[in-house]
């Protein structure tokens, strides 16, 4: 069978399992959940093992096999959970992930699993791995005994009454011990099995070559017995009747007698699976039924819906003109269907945030360990959904914020203890959905940002007036999000990698979102990212120039004011707007667009637009109101369209250009 078609499926499911493994490892490290995390990890590793073996991904299969063996020992309490074990398991999760990606990518040799496989084996060996319970190790690690010559029977003839039956299994029989058990079961269906060689425990433990012998008291004919036992599967030869030449030595006979067991011993023989082995409920492995769809397809669907909306607008107009009740009703129905379709397409682009959040606990743990801190990351609102491309884009900014909090927000354990705080810092990442936006919040209980230091630095740089004695949260944010702004200490270079909060700020704003920061000295810092649900739908302020409509994304609108002549000044030949104690440059959209003449009505309106720390007044003829619009991207930047980030179709079918505030400023 061509396995290639399954590679995609394998990758999707394996990634989910690796994510679940990391999740459970963190639980295990915190000592939560009792035996359940080990059971959950075991199940995930086991599933990966089965899938990778089927795919022929050798390195993944052998690694997961060794890992499973070790986990089985942990599960049975034969390997204690200590820091070296946790390190080994975390490392295993990383290498396993790499090996999975490499195998699917067609370059299985890129990740060398051998050192880790050796380390896992060494751990098992150090802690006394031998013993029947380590079934996985035996099955995979020890080669099966070489096949006997066909025709030679290795099992001693058991003593007792009944027909002697010898059965040989194929040399490539999988789980031959179980197969042998099925043979015995088949025999029991025909009569009474009085003895067996080797004994059942040994058969089950694969401790035999490929043949077994038993005594059967039955009324059936030899032919019937042979036929029945062959149905057990993998049986290549059945022979009934006493051996032609039986000359066992005395010692063999004694040993054989010792090996001869009663079948009643069977029922108690196999250990019941521990509770973690699939018998208890678990939410750790998330079930996600999915079809992978190229995002471009969804984008195309979104575009087509836009076209459909235009057509629907025209259709409505025609319908009104014709004044036909049947047509009007049909158009109304089509309108509802189009709206539903639009909703469905939007929804199909939404994915729960845990798809990205799930890697953060591990990231925070590693980051905290590297700087000698102890941090507890709490994630809330995992199921909140966000547009797939939005989620991808926002991952990096969140990583920055988390690193910032670990590196600079949360104090070292001794500092915290001295301040009367718990030694372990608390970091909360939450996602919250409200009507048309998702708020993602990163909150720590660390030292907070030093406002005075920021203020002194800002005064020194001439960014605020020297008479100021304190900063508002908004001013603080605007200051620390300036590229290159820094105080003597690492206040803005928060991530420790030379990327400050300005990168976060600009990224989020580019996505149509906003950033809010709240900080209290000694109590901690909370950064809130507000993001639209999707990149394709933007809440916008609609403005008018002449008969044309323009849209300004609301994320860039700070407020609107009427353009009273008294708030206008001319400074150095440029028109400026006096807004309270702020002086803003004025941009007249009418002139930018090359319209002739003046607006018809009296007072124009000013939209105060902002982008990062830059603000300006955009003068328009009139304001229409706010509306959610579907963004249709241009195929490329065309001549004269640099000011626009796209276009939209309004409810009446008329097009409107969307102003790109970043290029305006």
């Amino acid at each position: 069978m061509d396995s290639a078609q399954y590679a995609e499926l394998f990758l999707t499911e394996s990634r989910e399992h690796v994510s679940a493994i990391n999740h459970s490892l963190l639980e295990l490290e915190r000592g939560e959940g009792g035996a359940e995390p080990v059971g959950a990890i075991f199940r995930s590793v086991h599933t990966i093992k089965g899938m990778s073996a089927t795919m022929g991904y050798g390195p993944v299969a052998s690694l997961s096999h060794e890992l499973e063996t070790l986990l089985d020992r942990v599960r049975q309490g034969r390997r204690t959970i200590d820091p070296p074990l946790m390190d080994l398991l975390f490392r295993s999760a990383d290498v396993l992930e790499g090996a999975i990606e490499a195998a699917v990518g067609g370059d299985a040799t890129r990740v060398d699993v051998e050192p880790l496989v050796a380390a896992l084996k060494a751990d098992s060996a150090r802690n006394g791995a031998s013993g029947p319970a380590a079934g996985g190790a035996r099955a995979g690690g020890v080669p099966a005994p070489s096949a006997p010559d066909v025709g030679a029977w290795t099992a001693a003839a058991p003593a007792g009454a009944g027909l002697l039956v010898r059965v040989r299994l194929a040399t490539d029989t999988a789980l031959k011990g179980v197969r042998a058990f099925l043979v015995v079961q088949a025999a029991r269906a025909l009569g009474e099995v009085t003895s067996c060689s080797p004994a059942v425990e040994q058969l089950q433990a694969d401790e035999f070559d490929h043949d077994l012998a038993l005594r059967l008291q039955t009324t059936r004919t030899a032919e019937e017995v042979e036929a029945a036992l062959r149905t057990a599967g993998d049986v290549v030869e059945v022979r009934t009747g006493e051996d032609p030449v039986v000359t066992p030595s005395l010692s063999d006979t004694i040993a054989d007698m010792g090996d001869t067991g009663e079948f009643s011993a069977l029922s108690g023989a196999p250990a019941r699976a521990p509770a973690g082995d699939g018998t208890s409920a678990s939410g750790a492995v998330r079930q996600q039924r999915s079809v992978r769809i190229d995002l471009r397809r969804l984008d195309n669907l979104m575009n087509l819906i836009g076209e459909l909306v235009i057509t629907r607008g025209r259709l409505s107009q025609i319908s009104v003109a014709l004044n036909d009740p049947a047509l009007a009703e049909t158009v109304a129905q089509a309108t509802r269907l189009v709206a539903d379709l639009q909703d469905e397409i939007m929804t199909s682009r939404m994915v729960p945030v845990w798809q990205v959040f799930d890697r953060f606990p591990r990231l925070v743990r590693d980051a905290a360990r590297s700087v000698g801190k102890s941090v507890d990351l709490v994630i809330e609102g995992k199921e909140v959904e966000l547009d797939r491309s939005m989620l991808d884009e926002v991952g990096d900014p969140i990583v920055h914020l988390l690193r910032n909090a670990v590196d600079h927000g949360i104090e070292t354990p001794d500092v915290r203890r001295a301040a009367g705080k718990p030694e372990q810092g608390r970091l909360t990442l939450s996602a919250l959905r409200d009507r048309s936006a998702v708020a993602i919040r990163v909150s720590d209980d660390g030292r907070g940002i030093d406002r005075d230091r920021v203020l002194r630095r800002a005064i020194a740089d001439g960014l605020v007036e020297s008479t100021r004695t304190e900063l508002t949260d908004e001013e603080l944010l605007r200051l620390i999000s300036r590229a290159g702004f820094s105080t003597a200490e690492t206040i803005t270079d928060l991530s420790g990698r030379g990327v400050g909060i300005d990168a976060v700020y600009n990224r989020v704003r580019a996505l149509g979102g906003s950033v809010d920061i709240r900080t209290a000295p000694g109590k901690g810092t909370t950064v809130t990212l507000r993001l639209p649900l999707t990149l394709a739908i933007v809440r916008s302020l609609l403005a008018r120039i002449g008969d044309e409509t323009y849209a300004v994304p609301m994320t860039h609108v700070s407020e609107t004011v009427e353009l009273h002549p008294k708030i206008l000044r001319t400074l150095k030949g440029r028109e400026m707007l006096m807004l309270r104690d702020e002086v803003l440059p004025v941009m007249r959209l009418r002139q930018l667009m090359g319209y002739d003449g003046a607006p018809k009505r009296g007072l124009e309106q000013v939209v105060i637009v902002e982008m990062a720390e830059r603000r300006a007044g955009l003068v328009v003829d009139d304001l229409i109101g706010q509306q959610e619009i579907v963004v249709k991207q241009f195929d490329g930047v065309r001549e004269g369209l640099a000011l626009f980030g796209g276009a939209t179709i309004l409810g009446d079918g008329a097009p409107a250009l969307i102003i790109d505030v970043s290029s305006l400023l």
Partner: protein, 120 residues
């Protein structure tokens, strides 16, 4: 009339693969279950001719599911799907009423042989 099959495995990957093998051999896949609890429920609902059962599943493991199914229908034909290193569990499953087993990685011919044996 083709035989009906219920496939129980927590991995979509495995369900797809077993499903493909059986479908190509002319079987009708009437249902899939991803937990032991689902397997039992669906068995009672669908009464399939054959059940393929993974051993390690969340919620209720395959062995308990076999036990429940056999309790409901002593003539149920269940084929266990096992991995290497699960001898004891497979034996337990057979004692619980499973008729045969196949070992991952699956080879289509092996799976079909086992299915034929189970269906008699």
């Amino acid at each position: 009339m083709s035989h009906t099959v219920l496939i129980c495995d927590d991995a979509i990957f495995m369900r797809t693969m077993v499903g493909d093998i059986l479908q190509q051999a002319g079987f009708e896949i009437v249902g899939e279950a991803e937990t032991g609890v689902q397997a039992v429920e669906k068995y009672k609902l669908l009464k399939p001719d054959l059940v393929t059962m993974d051993i390690v599943m969340p919620d209720m493991g395959g062995i308990d599911a076999v036990r429940e199914i056999t309790k409901f229908d002593p003539s149920a034909k269940v084929l266990m799907c096992s991995a290497m290193g699960q001898q004891a569990l497979v034996v337990e499953a057979i004692q619980a009423g499973a008729k045969d087993f196949v070992v991952k990685p699956f080879q289509p011919s092996r799976v079909l042989e086992a299915v034929q044996r189970v269906l008699g």
